[in-house]
């Protein structure tokens, strides 16, 4: 075989099908949008029942996380996510899925070294960089307000 790595890369790119980007985007938009509409419906419901804006936002998050966790436990979330992609990862239901799925998977290694240690295996980076970003944002805000 007289082929260098670059030539092989070109060849394999020709032979490897790409993800259907437009179809994936459309499905992510529709299903992700649907999840957000459900969230909006839940939020409106709580507001109509007399909760304040801040309380209804918290109650909506709790409800959506619960729905995400429930669908994960029923092995339905991954079936929806297969089509939705980013549409199911980005909303808060995706965060619930990222926490509950390792909990289900790694409980076979025990509650401490399995479930406990692996619980944040997927969501960990989101927390690390999310919290880091908010700290930096907070510092910038303090400095700007102080100036």
């Amino acid at each position: 075989m007289n082929l260098d790595k670059e030539q092989y890369q070109q060849m394999l790119q020709q032979k490897s099908p790409n993800s259907p980007l437009w179809k994936d985007c459309l499905k992510a938009f529709l299903i992700g949008g649907l999840i957000c509409m459900v969230g909006q419906g839940v939020s409106s419901f709580y507001k109509a029942r007399g909760l304040s804006v801040a309380d209804s936002a918290a109650a909506t998050s709790i409800t959506m996380v619960f729905i995400g966790a429930l669908l994960t436990c029923l092995h339905l979330y991954e079936k929806i996510a297969k089509h939705a992609g980013a549409g199911t990862i980005v909303p808060i239901t995706g965060f619930a899925n990222a926490i509950v799925s390792p909990a289900m998977e790694f409980k076979s290694e025990g509650l401490v070294l399995g479930l406990g240690a692996k619980l944040f295996a997927i969501a960990g980076p989101v927390l690390v960089y999310g919290i880091s970003a908010s700290v930096i944002y907070g510092l910038i805000l303090v400095i700007m307000q102080g100036a």
């Binding site: 075989m1 007289n2 082929l3 790595k5 670059e6 092989y8 890369q9 060849m11 394999l12 032979k15 490897s16 099908p17 790409n18 993800s19 259907p20 994936d24 994960t72 436990c73 092995h75 979330y77 991954e78 929806i80 996510a81 297969k82 939705a84 992609g85 199911t88 990862i89 995706g94 899925n97 990222a98 509950v100 799925s101 390792p102 289900m104 998977e105 790694f106 076979s108 997927i122």
Partner: protein, 339 residues
């Protein structure tokens, strides 16, 4: 004693006989195009075990027990078991044979393990180090997912080039005589690394190794592809199978198309959503120890090259940005053949 012919191929002077074989698969594999040709299709992929790792061990043990039963043997009739899988420290195979009471050798050749076991086992039989031995390999979708990728319930998308780890196991018993299906030649392949870093495109990582081993084997044997009824690679899948045919045609001037198949491409139907096809040690093991060896018994295939293909990587090596090397080992099986 095996004799080296050409550059790398081994020809067995006393070709080891395939005394018995069996394949056990999961539900999805059982629902595929080859479903009726396996010895056992699981009712439940968990087999009532408390972990997926134990489920895989159970599946491999089933394949071993069935092969022994079909050959009218017991584990104590074997001089050794050569087995491997994808799990860390090959624990699936170790646990499957823990009660066998016979010598055990764990093998790791990634998805090429079944071919590696058959080639190594044939050398041991031909050389007189063993009178009878069993080669086995297994993989399980659920144990592989949790080790290599994500939890099962995690909502992610797979790339079109990704392959589906087969829930499957195959086992074959080799002996000095007692069957008209024999392993006549074997070749151990070298690692070939062509810069593929995408763990979702293993077929592309393995195709160059398959091209290297198959072209060397044919050259050493001084044979044409059409001298064989079937040349089958382990688990290149649709992408890798296309690549190996192209590589062999363009680089080696060999046209395998009339006789070529790939176990990974054969295992699932299009609508089973396995993307680029099957993979895992169990993929080629179950297709060989089920449909292919049955076809040899029935006389549909008289001369076969079985080329197992493996992608040598780990989740750590991928995260550290290392390229994936492929490796391919092959054996030649003949019905009624001597040399």
């Amino acid at each position: 004693m095996a004799k080296r012919i050409g550059e790398r191929t081994l020809r067995f002077e006393n070709p080891p006989a395939v005394l018995a074989h069996a394949a056990a698969v999961g539900q999805k594999e059982g629902a595929g195009p080859l479903g009726k040709r396996f010895d056992l299709v699981a009712q439940d992929d968990r087999f009532d075990q408390k972990s997926w790792e134990l489920a895989e061990s159970h599946l491999q043990k089933k394949a071993i027990d069935l092969a022994l039963e079909k050959g009218g043997m017991q584990a104590s009739d074997l001089d050794m078991i050569l087995a491997g899988d994808l799990l860390n420290q090959c624990i699936g195979s170790a646990l499957a044979s823990v009660d066998s009471g016979t010598a055990y050798l764990g093998l790791y050749g990634a998805c090429s393990t079944m071919a590696e076991g058959l080639a190594l086992g044939s050398c041991l039989i031909d050389g007189g180090a063993a009178r009878r031995l069993l080669a086995a390999a297994s993989s399980h979708f659920c144990s592989a997912e949790r080790q290599y990728r994500f939890p099962l319930a995690y909502g992610g998308q797979r790339s079109p080039t990704a392959q589906w780890t087969a829930t499957a196991a195959g086992a074959a018993v080799l002996g000095q005589m007692g069957s008209d299906i024999r392993v006549t030649h074997a070749i151990f392949g070298q690692q070939v690394e062509m810069g593929v870093k995408d763990a979702s495109n293993m077929g592309a990582a393995m195709a160059p190794a398959a091209c290297d081993t198959l072209s060397r084997l044919l050259r050493d044997m001084n044979a044409k592809p059409t001298d064989f009824d079937c040349i089958v690679t382990g688990d290149l899948g649709h992408v890798g199978a296309d690549l190996v045919l192209t590589l062999l045609r363009e680089q080696e001037n060999l046209d395998l198309t009339p006789v070529y198949s790939d176990c990974g491409s054969l295992l699932y139907k299009e609508e089973q959503d396995a993307h680029a096809g099957g993979s895992g040690c169990g993929c080629s093991a179950c297709v060989l120890c089920g449909p292919l060896l049955r076809d040899m018994h029935e006389g549909k295939i008289r001369r076969l090259i079985f080329a197992g293909t493996g992608a040598l990587m780990s989740p750590t090596s991928i995260q550290q940005g290392q390229a994936i090397a492929g490796v391919c080992h092959a054996v030649v099986l003949e019905r009624g053949g001597k040399s």
